[in-house]
């Protein structure tokens, strides 16, 4: 079973991203349980979504405290929130950022990093910093857990509030293509 934690800010579509990802994974025959965590329900406030994936039915309906994967769709969030809290060793971190790998503080528990300038792409495609579709592409590229095709399918049946499906598919594609993936050398047992 994989545990994925998605971090974002209210209004960027983090929760919708978890829904699309859930649909895509179900499309690929997986069992999924995704729940959001709301603090203050307003634009800009930190928001998390928790997604469990397994090959058999998932029963527990609780938050995720020890994720294998962290997907952070906002570049400013890591300085405001401890997005790595409880992360398991050999974790994968997918981050929306303009920065390069050496400019970032990567914790020991992370052994694979995917970086994508989601703000830049989102402003280009939508004219606004709504990063969810872009970062889903980044997630697919970095983790290989889900295919673009399934994410397409997942997007077809959600109600996007701010832009049409084709723009979101475009963002997804660009996110996938414009993500740099880094494998880090980690000592066994670290």
């Amino acid at each position: 079973m994989y545990e994925i934690r998605i971090h974002g800010r209210g209004g960027q579509g983090a929760v919708l991203a978890s829904k699309i990802l859930a649909k895509a994974l179900v499309e690929e025959g997986k069992f999924v349980k995704a729940i959001p965590s709301f603090g203050f329900e307003r634009r800009g406030a930190p928001v998390s979504a928790f997604l469990r994936v397994n090959d058999k039915l998932i029963r527990q309906t609780t938050n995720i405290y020890n994720p294998n994967f962290i997907l952070c769709i906002d570049p400013t969030l890591p300085r405001a929130v401890d997005i790595f809290s409880g992360m398991r060793a050999k974790g994968v971190w997918v981050q929306a950022t303009k920065k390069s790998l050496d400019q970032l503080q990567v914790p020991e528990s992370v052994s694979k990093v995917g970086l994508c300038d989601a703000f830049g792409i989102a402003l280009d495609v939508f004219g606004r910093t709504i990063t969810n579709s872009v970062m889903l592409g980044a997630f697919a590229k970095t983790t290989g857990l889900v295919s673009l095709k399934s994410l397409h399918k997942g997007m077809e049946t959600v109600a996007f509030r701010d832009a049409a499906l084709d723009k979101n598919i475009q963002a997804l594609q660009r996110g996938f293509e414009e993500t740099s993936v880094f494998e880090l050398d980690r000592e066994e047992g670290s």
């Binding site: 729940i35 709301f38 527990q60 309906t61």
Partner: protein
């Protein structure tokens, strides 16, 4: 499809073909209200949508619609339920078969917009049938079943289908949509107001004032109250029958009243309700792996309270730990604990029982918390006394 509990509920409503719906948004029910409105706009629900100014009007409007023969639906929780209390209070004795989702939310003071069960638990004595769901699929299925239960000739009571705020309302999972034709066949002909109606063709006075204590008042009251109680007892049977028919037609089964999990050779058990059960079952599996003979009992139907079914389950174990997601202020324990204590009275021998209270104000009841509940109940089994409730999220 993949959707959350609120959307699943809206689909359950759509499949049941209501005639009049009225909703007012309130967290964490809001998206349910929005889906209902969207479905009406899109023609998926072909009903009259009443846009009213508050929950008091929501249910009052549905009273009128129901008396005119409409199949109805609404949803609320928390303060919305509180605002709705005046018409809520009279719906069961009026015998109106309204189906309502409570997207359970904790009590509002201290200020809180997060999940819990204080709202639904507090109103369990009003006379509505109360069922608690564990998954989004169960929400969809139970709403459709609720109409069959509510409109059953031996019942004619309003039904609350409750699902945990946040966990089930916004929790996304794979959900299967039952076939519409099969549902139509399952629910059969609508006959909502054969017994009490605002209908010029059948003039009658609906709920007139009863005589005072010197007049016919008391005897009438006893008659009607006994009738309500009889209907509730019938519901124990009908809820089981409806769930059995559901399994035959749609292939999905749910324990209608009480579910027993790994109870056959268990020495003790934890008792759960609603979405917390998933983590509870996982914790039981873990404990079993290390040799503990523990099981789980899940309560689905809280009203009518399945006394005999629970008694049978409880007679298999020698200690229980009841995990509540709400508080019984007057008894210093959880409400389900209180009800379980009453049920234990019927057992041949007295067994220890502990009250655990967790998950208040949207807190998680995790596998770790269940581990603690299991360990503590094991201690009770070995004779340790626990007179105070254990508050699971106290130090979180």
């Amino acid at each position: 499809m993949v959707c959350d509990g609120n959307e699943a509920a809206a689909w359950g409503v759509a499949l049941s073909r209501p005639d009049v719906v009225a909703v007012y948004p309130i967290t964490p029910q809001s998206s349910l209200a929005e889906y209902i409105s969207q479905f009406v706009a899109d023609g998926i629900i072909q009903a009259d949508l009443m846009d009213v100014e508050g929950e008091h009007s929501v249910l009052s409007v549905l009273h009128g619609a129901c008396l005119a023969g409409a199949r109805t639906f609404t949803a609320t929780c928390g303060q919305g339920l509180a605002f709705m209390f005046e018409p809520y209070f009279r719906t069961p004795p009026l015998r109106l078969p309204i189906v309502m989702s409570i997207v359970t939310r904790d009590g509002i003071t201290p200020q809180c917009v997060w999940g819990g069960q204080q709202d639904a638990m507090t109103v369990r004595e009003v006379g509505w049938v109360h069922m608690y769901c564990e998954t989004a699929q169960e929400v969809l299925d139970t709403i459709v079943m609720a109409y069959k239960i509510a409109e059953h000739r031996d019942i004619m009571l309003p039904v609350n289908v409750n699902h945990d705020g946040n966990y089930l309302s916004y929790g996304v999972e794979k959900v299967v949509l039952p076939d519409q034709e099969e549902v139509d066949d399952f629910l059969g002909e609508k006959n909502i107001n054969w017994h009490v109606a605002l209908d010029p063709e059948r003039p009658m006075s609906v709920d007139p004032l009863t005589g005072g204590a010197e007049g016919s008042g008391p005897a009438l009251f006893v008659r009607y109250r006994k009738g309500s109680c009889k209907a509730m007892q019938n519901a124990l049977r009908v809820i089981q029958e409806v769930h059995e028919e559901w399994e035959k037609r749609f292939g999905r089964s749910y324990a209608p009243l009480v579910e027993e999990y790994r109870l056959e050779d268990a020495k003790y058990a934890i008792v759960t309700i609603g979405s917390m059960t998933g983590a509870g079952k996982d914790a039981v599996d873990l404990a079993r792996e290390s040799g503990e003979k523990v099981g789980l009992i899940k309560i689905k139907t809280v009203r009518p309270f399945p006394v005999q079914t629970l008694r049978q389950a409880l007679s298999k174990v020698k200690a229980i730990g009841v995990v509540d997601r709400s508080v019984s202020f007057g008894w210093n324990c959880g409400p389900m604990y209180q009800e379980l204590l009453s049920t234990l009275y019927l057992l041949d021998e007295r067994i220890p029982a502990i009250s655990f209270i967790g998950g208040l104000a949207g807190a998680d009841i995790r596998i770790e918390h269940f581990n603690r509940a299991i360990e503590t109940t094991a201690k009770a089994l070995r004779g340790e006394e626990f007179s105070e409730p254990i508050w699971l999220n106290e130090k979180d």
